[in-house]
Symmetry: C2
Subunit: 386 residues, 2 copies
């Protein structure tokens, strides 16, 4: 059924699949529409980055105020989605599902309800993109309260209109207004995750959009792609591995002995390496520094986590010459915030939705069907009744 080794072209590594004005992933920089990621992380808010990606330019103050108002006004979920989320309590209890899969269903339902769902015009797609950006944190927040068997937080409004996008996401998940340090770290993580050119989920969304299908469908497929541990799922997998290391330490082992075992078993270590970046991921040090600073105020447990994480990084660098990608510090940062691990990749969606929608709009504005060919390596021809 399968071949022994993937063909050289499998994975399209290094293959230019098209152009984009949205993002440049370079060895020396990550650029969103002309602005470098360190500059954005330091000086912009997630709402400003979302406007940059979706509308195409840096918002002036009045554009930014309208954009924020639109996001706030669109936070609440339709009753059909809330009803479905309540139904999932039994699915989570039965372990037949995970948050990423429920988020995928909820976005698909939103498509079934959206008055613009069949309209691929730039104006309709921008409206849909803003609604999706506004509503995804609400889906994540309500889902977590369903899992926790607690009442939904502000389901009529989808949160507190006085809170920023990042703060409201944390509020919806917990019912508590977050400290400024948590909000800031969440905001920066959303900026860092927002866009990354033709990564697998964005590429999936462009393949779907390229048939002239609709934005909700393309986003549904992108969520499915982001879930995988070789993509967005890596932030959950990285934290799961760190938890294993902490248990190994509690049982008397060392970080070095854990890593030696992992190397001997040829285990894939999550949160390290990147298909495109050869000398490290620019985003990782930004989030590491913020998360580490936040850990100081959150308690000894979290300070220790970052110390262990640094030791893992040092060993990977010394022995394998592989650097962490953004998913590694992200796992530690979200853990330090108290977020349940299975929500790390859904939060990645709350950010990347902006990049996906920008790419879907770009694909539709200059469309070509994305349809490669395959090399046939199956059985030779024979007769059915031969």
């Amino acid at each position: 059924m399968s071949t022994a080794t993937p063909s050289p072209t499998a994975g399209l590594a290094g293959v230019i699949a098209g152009q984009t004005s949205i993002c440049s992933v370079e060895q020396g920089a990550l650029i969103y529409r002309g602005f470098e990621i360190h500059d954005l992380a330091e000086n912009a808010s997630f709402e400003e980055v979302a406007h940059l990606l979706l509308v195409g330019h840096k918002a002036n103050p009045s554009e930014l105020a309208s954009f924020k108002d639109e996001l706030i006004a669109n936070r609440a979920l339709p009753p059909v989605v809330i009803d479905y989320l309540k139904t999932t309590a039994s699915m989570f209890a039965d372990n037949t599902t995970v948050p990423m899969d429920v988020l995928r269903t909820c976005v698909s339902i939103l498509g079934n309800l959206d008055a613009d769902s069949q309209d691929n015009s730039p104006e309709a797609e921008l409206r849909k993109a803003k609604r999706l950006t506004a509503k995804i944190p609400t889906i994540i927040g309500h889902m977590q309260t369903v899992i926790d068997n607690k009442p939904l937080v502000a389901p009529e409004t989808g949160g507190d209109a006085k809170l920023s996008h990042a703060a409201n996401l944390l509020y919806l998940m917990t019912g508590e207004k977050p400290e400024d340090k948590l909000t800031h770290t969440m905001d920066v993580s959303l900026i860092l995750y927002a866009e990354h050119d033709y990564n697998a989920s964005t590429f999936a969304s462009r393949v779907i959009a390229g048939t002239l299908s609709d934005m909700h469908g393309a986003v549904t497929g992108a969520i499915a792609a982001l879930k995988g541990p070789l993509h967005g799922g890596a932030n959950e997998a990285a934290m799961d591995m760190l938890k294993e290391i902490l248990e190994h330490l509690d049982a008397g082992g060392t970080v070095q002995s854990f890593m030696d075992n992992a190397f001997t078993e040829k285990r894939k270590l999550m949160g390290f390496g990147h298909r495109v970046y050869k000398n490290g991921d620019h985003r990782a040090p930004i989030l590491h520094a913020l998360g580490k600073a936040m850990a100081q105020s959150r308690g000894e447990e979290f300070v220790r986590l970052f110390k262990v994480g640094e030791e893992v990084q040092q060993i990977m660098d010394d022995q394998k010459n592989i650097k962490p990608n953004v998913d590694f510090p992200c796992g530690m940062a979200y853990y330090t915030m108290g977020i349940p691990v299975p929500q790390y990749t859904p939060i990645f969606v709350a950010s990347r939705i902006t990049g996906w929608c920008a790419h879907i709009m770009e694909q539709h504005q200059n469309n070509r069907l994305i349809r490669p060919i395959a090399e046939y390596v199956g059985p030779p021809e024979s007769k059915w009744n031969g």
Copy 2:
């Protein structure tokens, strides 16, 4: 935001994106695991083709009997999916959705409920593939009765165990056991649509699966991709165009005058041409002949439809040298069966689900992340507060 013309690599036309043992799309033949499409259309049933694609070889009589039994046993839908389908009555009434989008949501819900949903082993994936193949016709059938405001047909069993896959699909949609000619034409159409190597929806499913995401997620994305009029949606678009031509004739026009107008307006004519086939689609004449024969017994209206279709084909061939693809006769055949146009692409899903699942399994058994790169054509770097 977009560039003037797509870059030469946009669309990956002619680019080999990997290998497959499942299907060979050639200028002179279409091969499923070594068997040519004319041979399969003449000598195999859809159930046999589904076994060939999913299990990997031609079933012997006892394998085929078990395979059919498994499909029949898995036809019924879980109550959560039935409840959602009932909810969609108001969405169809409000025109916020179409059957392809509801099918996408229902498959995503099935994933949330499937006990194997997080298991990517070959055994679990084969189980999931059979369940999806069994249940998709039931989703389509129940959806149509919801749209028609009629009671669901046999919701406890998902149909009549004595009926074949093709016959049961028609039964679920209408509540009536279909004539043999309809069943046979439907069965052959399902065989013809089952698989086509790295077409856009299958490629989307492989991009999603390539992150090590799950089968239901990959299928959800594939449904979204198939919907587009440049892909599976073409069978609906082709029939919509034929209806327009019939109205043009009723208003005193001719097929030639309709086509002349279309050529002048540079309108894209649906159901013609193909990214890979340069000298015509092998599948089209098979379905055309069957549909035309069926039309004889269905009445003058349908005989006329095929005559008009043949005139359209002749003009396209004479004036543009472009041949019909399978979506063109498919539209006429499904119309002749009395199937509502918006269900043509969902029925395509009921067939292609077998090809998608075979590709998802093949991808997972020999995985490599599918992640191309992009050429940046956006603004040069500037400072956020510059």
